[in-house]
Symmetry: C2
Subunit: 340 residues, 2 copies
């Protein structure tokens, strides 16, 4: 057993807005030794999700807030380097709640999933063949249910979830319109992810642009942002529309989420707005991955990652989500993967 | 053929807030003669629904606005007094869009339904065995879907739709909490309609009262009012809750409907908010009426009407909906029914 050091990013103070320099601390501790029933994982990539920012607030959610002094929670991927349990062998690749750290102890629990195969593209697992892809899949296929010929709108369309969700709607035969910030992202949404059009919300005329691009109304809206954009799309719903609530990124920095006055359109259009959490579909993730891998094989689904190097970049990467840095999945590369 | 006069209430000016004295005019015209394919109906009762007020605004909805100079639209019931069509014989009782008038021409169309039976309780048809009852039925059974042991909240619980919707939830085995304005209504909701409890929103502490009466959260919310009350209930949702949007009476006088900030709870609780319109279930109304009549026969369902006499009282009755006059269905009696 070699003696390993474990660099970790701890929460020192609850941030207001973007995470500031005094809100976190990078520390170095000895890596833990696995006890009976445990294994030790070396983190390769950490996924930078908007949800991470919500866990830094003292608000109850589907997971408890990160406490002051704790490692910042995040979903990541890594390789088993020591094992004292039957579930994982040394060399296995697993996704788990790595947190912002180089090593993490795992058990045979719901948050840890072995990744099948010997030549695993770990970045692709993080961006599409893992929880992010499952979120896009179950949100679009299970809740949005687009039919051929329908109009689907996806916000944060250049992001990890939105870019996959929109491609799934295209595969279902829908006309798909993205919403993203700035010409660079809008170009990627159309040219790379194959959406039919993309509205640049920074032009400040989302309602008018929606009218132009969705002349028959919006049948499915996959919402990652909330706020004014949600309100604008609610004002443009078609009859029997489905609004999939996946995230409220517009409110994560402020904690404020103005109510959408156009919710009354749900009544006028006999439409439905539904929140969902892919974790509730845990037992069916294999179904999602099989579909997603099939589509990729058939050339119908692309994925993209924005990778930043080094554990010390985690906070920068997290803030970057909110300042519009990434196209596709934001990842921090912590160590070199063996498998790919 | 006797010569009949037809008193009518016409829209003269679009009201702001409550309907004022100069907004309508009571006129007397000759009753029309039915042409081929038509019948003439003598109105007995006019149903006073909140929707009537929305049709006076120049806003598109599921029906077009009433135009200046037109008879104010409303759903009512009456008896056929002359017929030149196969669908209706003299003496038949029909529900139709009578409007605020003593006589109306009907055709064989979707808005006109013959009422079966020779000894018809016309008031009961208006309050529960007609579109109002169908609205409560399809909203609660089809969209809300309460299960035994769940907690159901109904706003405007003393009103025509809410009082029936809550009783349907009780029949399904749910614990049912009403929301109504003032102790007189709250007492009726519990003692007459059999709800388990009723919150008086005029006490100004709906959120705290919901916490007390719904300790495990709200599984189904049947919303007739929108506004602050909707927001308060959204703040109290249980996991996988269903919010049934049936009306927004809080906004009908002002045209303003503040967005409910707690809509984000739909995401946190993976809940669903859905608008519906019973007219979309037109072809299944008989199913609703059979169920409702069966429950009444078994002593599980009561109904109540607040009846005001005389066509000239229609506007007073309509305003009364918004000032809190009625318990149960608000009706204007225009002429004596033959059948009962």
């Amino acid at each position: 057993m070699t003696s390993r050091t474990n660099r970790q990013v701890l929460l020192r103070r609850r941030p207001t807005g973007l995470v500031g320099p005094d809100d976190t601390e990078l520390v170095t501790a000895p890596a833990p030794e696995p006890a009976d029933g445990e294994a030790l994982v070396r983190t390769t990539y950490i996924g930078i999700d908007a949800a991470v920012r919500t866990w830094l607030d003292d608000q109850p959610g589907y997971l408890p807030p990160v406490q002051i002094g704790e490692v910042i929670r995040a979903a990541g991927i890594g390789e088993v380097v020591a094992s004292r349990c039957d579930a994982y062998a040394v060399g296995d690749v697993v996704t788990t709640l790595t947190g912002f750290q180089e090593y993490v102890i795992v058990r045979d629990d719901v948050f840890t999933t072995p990744v099948a195969g010997t030549d695993v593209d770990q970045r692709a697992v993080m961006s599409v063949f893992g929880p992010t892809g499952a979120t896009a899949y179950f949100g679009m296929v299970g809740v949005g249910r687009p039919a051929a010929g329908e109009t689907v709108v996806v916000s944060a369309a250049a992001g990890a979830t939105g870019s996959v969700a929109g491609q799934i709607a295209k595969i279902a035969g829908a006309r798909v319109v993205g919403i993203a910030g700035g010409p660079r992202k809008c170009r990627a949404v159309v040219e790379e992810f194959g959406f039919d059009a993309c509205i640049d919300y920074k032009r400040g005329q989302v309602a008018a642009d929606l009218k132009e691009h969705c002349p028959r109304g919006v049948d499915v809206y996959f919402d990652n942002v909330g706020g004014e954009i949600l309100d604008a799309v609610l004002g443009r719903l078609a009859h029997n529309a489905r609004v999939v609530l996946c995230g409220v990124i517009s409110s994560y920095l402020t904690g404020e989420h103005p109510g959408p006055a156009n919710y009354v359109n749900l009544l006028a259009k006999t439409a439905r707005m539904q929140g969902f959490n892919a974790l509730h579909e845990w037992g069916r993730f294999d179904e999602a991955f099989a579909a997603l891998r099939g589509w990729e094989r058939d050339g119908l689904l692309v994925h993209r990652e924005h990778v930043i190097d080094g554990l010390e970049s985690c906070v920068t990467a997290l803030n970057g989500l909110f300042t519009g840095v990434n196209i596709g999945k934001m990842l921090v590369k912590v160590s070199e993967p063996t498998s790919r």
